[in-house]
């Protein structure tokens, strides 16, 4: 199954991530976001971080989760390529994220993502297929 599609937005870029369940859709949303930042095929799984996110509802949880990962990227310069969502409810998420420190000589870095936004944010569920639409300020 396709993990995500890129969606158009004049100023910035967004994605629609897919999954057969919530954990998979959230993992693919993170994968899609980092795909906008680098070619993830060149990123190795050398380190991992345990991530927790919390929010008032399912949509906001997407923003919290992705922005938490961007925070780790800025502070530790780790680019993630695999996400294991361990536990998820509508308001809480626990996950392990795997990746490695940025190495500009080896990683083909693309543009940055400043933040995941609430703009036209949507988590939808249809016939056991989940989709997450999120737009980034880039």
């Amino acid at each position: 199954m396709k993990r995500f599609d890129v969606v158009e937005h004049t100023a910035d870029t967004g994605i629609i991530a897919y999954g057969t369940d919530m954990p998979e859709a959230f993992a693919n949303a993170a994968y899609g976001m980092f795909s906008l930042m680098a070619d993830l095929r060149q990123v190795r799984e050398e380190t991992s971080r345990y991530v927790e996110a919390e929010a008032g509802d399912r949509e906001s949880l997407v923003v919290s989760w992705l922005n938490e990962l961007l925070y780790i990227f800025d502070v530790e310069r780790i680019i993630f390529r695999r996400f294991d969502v361990l536990e998820i409810t509508n308001t809480r998420l626990k996950a392990d994220a795997y990746g490695e420190k940025v190495d500009p000589s080896r990683h083909k870095l693309r543009g940055g993502v400043k933040a995941a936004t609430y703009h036209t944010l949507k988590v939808a569920e249809r016939r056991e297929r989940y989709s997450i639409r999120v737009i980034f300020d880039a």
């Binding site: 158009e8 004049t10 910035d12 961007l70 800025d74 310069r77 940025v102 500009p104 933040a115 936004t117």
Partner: protein
């Protein structure tokens, strides 16, 4: 995306009103500055509906405004301006944006185009290595916890104290590079952690350093006040903001204010318009944190100014005094400020949100440095890297009509993704080279997504503001070399 089919009532050739009756709940009408030719492309997206949404904000006065570089943003459109009463109105992080105090700084030199062109490659390479840029780039300065608080409180002055630039630079920076009311305690630890390694970095995306040459002068006295005497003179333009620190502050406070809205019983039509009364604890906290991020951005542009000067000195082998490279002006184009305006014959203290809009104060305005008292505040309006940029000055009409605000740039026409489709960096670099422009980018796709085609023509945008009387054109400059983040 659906076309916007709402009403645009013609006021004159450059003003289009969205009447209050368009949607129940609008507290003021909307007003878009545009030429008739621009309306079609403005209607192609929902940015005008965002102008309408902003008109719902409690305490908004005058009009919910949009400049001709309007395009779809988050909450507010980019190019949006809204003033709310401090007394009983709200402040919204959506009216500032994620990149708090994203802005531009212009420097002038004594160098001429013919001296600079042959050394362009060398200059760009040195700028590229001396000014950290690109995704995940880290700064050359190590900033501890205490020092971070100093940056957040003192802004550009912190940098000057550390030997990056001089007092003169502050004189010609909006707010002297230090917005008052900054309180580092209102900035989360996370935001500071994100800001710490990125101090003094250009960043990625649309941020850049551009070496330019003056191509046309429209207003000699104003140009002279800015240290520009003649066509052919070389300039340097710096465009960057508050990096991850600003993004985190925005994200933190959208969350806080969304919760606060329920307590204050405020309803808005879009989640990204989360807001709180200016005078509430939450509103005050946001403004104090936003001021910190704004100061961080000014410190950032100040550091980059210093390193750019080092590069020029090395490449041209003259002293800095001979080269010039003095700051013309530095403006914020993503910010909220408390300013006073006369509304319906009454002097009011207002919270002016400028989201992709530039402050444009007229001659004799008390907050201008002596140098610009006679001509007005320089307004810096960069275009895309393949065409040209403008410098203008503010007018009395801007104060009367747009809360001293004007456009900030060309405005995107195409998404980054669309711009990149089928276009390679190498193609863009070749096209630029054919025009005599050398470009270097830190990120892959960095040139393609910023190609000229992705932007509106800034000349049309500036012309609308000039004709509408919000600013007066001073000069036009062409790019010679660009470093993209």
């Amino acid at each position: 995306m659906a076309r916007w089919e709402g009403p645009l009532k013609k006021i004159d050739d450059y003003r289009w009103e969205i009447p209050r009756e368009y949607r129940p709940g609008m507290r003021v009408p909307g007003l878009i500055y545009a030429s008739e030719d621009m309306l079609d492309s403005i209607r192609e997206e929902q940015a005008a509906e965002q102008v309408v949404n902003v008109a719902f904000l409690p305490g908004i006065v005058g009009h919910s405004l949009a400049m001709p570089d309007i395009h779809w943003g988050y909450g507010f459109p980019i190019g949006g301006v809204a003033a709310t009463r401090v007394e009983d109105g709200v402040v919204s992080p959506g009216g500032v944006g994620y990149d708090i105090n994203c802005g531009v700084r212009l420097l002038r030199t004594n160098l001429r185009e013919d001296e600079v062109r042959p050394k362009m490659e060398e200059l760009l390479s040195l700028l590229f290595t001396n000014v950290p840029s690109g995704l995940g780039s880290t700064g050359k300065i190590k900033v501890g916890k205490k020092e971070m608080d100093d940056i957040l409180t003192e802004g550009a002055r912190w940098a000057v104290k550390r030997g990056f630039g001089t007092e003169d630079d502050l004189e010609v920076t909006e707010e002297r590079g230090c917005l008052k009311g900054a309180d580092p305690d209102e900035v989360s630890v996370k935001a500071k952690e994100r800001g710490s390694p990125q101090s003094g970095t250009l960043g990625s995306g649309n941020h850049f350093l551009e070496v330019q040459v003056v191509g046309e002068i429209y207003d000699q006295p104003a140009a002279r006040a800015m240290g520009v005497d003649d066509v052919g003179q070389v300039l340097l333009l710096i465009h960057t903001g508050s990096r991850g620190l600003g993004h985190q502050v925005c994200d933190d406070y959208i969350r806080t204010l969304r919760e606060a809205m329920q307590r204050h019983a405020i309803e808005v039509p879009d989640r990204e318009l989360a807001c709180a009364p200016v005078k509430s604890a939450e509103g005050r906290s946001y403004l104090a944190a936003m001021a910190c991020a704004a100061n961080y951005a000014w410190a950032n542009r100040q550091c980059i100014t210093h390193w750019s000067r080092e590069c020029f000195v090395r490449v041209f082998g003259h002293s800095l005094r001979e080269i010039g490279l003095e700051v013309v002006y530095d403006v914020a184009h993503n910010i909220a400020k408390i300013e006073s305006y006369e509304v319906d014959g009454k002097k009011l203290s207002l919270c002016v949100h400028r989201k992709g809009a530039t402050r444009a104060f007229p001659a004799r305005h008390p907050s201008l440095p002596d140098r610009y008292k006679e001509v007005g505040q320089p307004v810096l309006i960069p275009g895309d890297m393949g065409r040209y940029s403008f410098v203008a000055v503010g007018t009395d009409r801007a104060v009367k009509e747009s809360f001293g605000s004007v456009c900030h740039g060309a405005g995107r026409r195409m998404s980054r993704h669309a711009a990149k489709r089928g276009v390679r960096d190498a193609d863009v670099a070749r096209d630029l080279a054919a025009k005599g422009i050398i470009a270097k980018a830190a990120s892959r796709g960095g040139l393609a997504e910023e190609a000229s085609e992705a932007y509106k023509d800034v000349a049309e945008v500036v012309e609308v503001c000039h004709q509408a009387g919000l600013c007066r054109k001073v000069l036009k400059a062409y790019p010679l070399g660009v470093v993209k983040g």
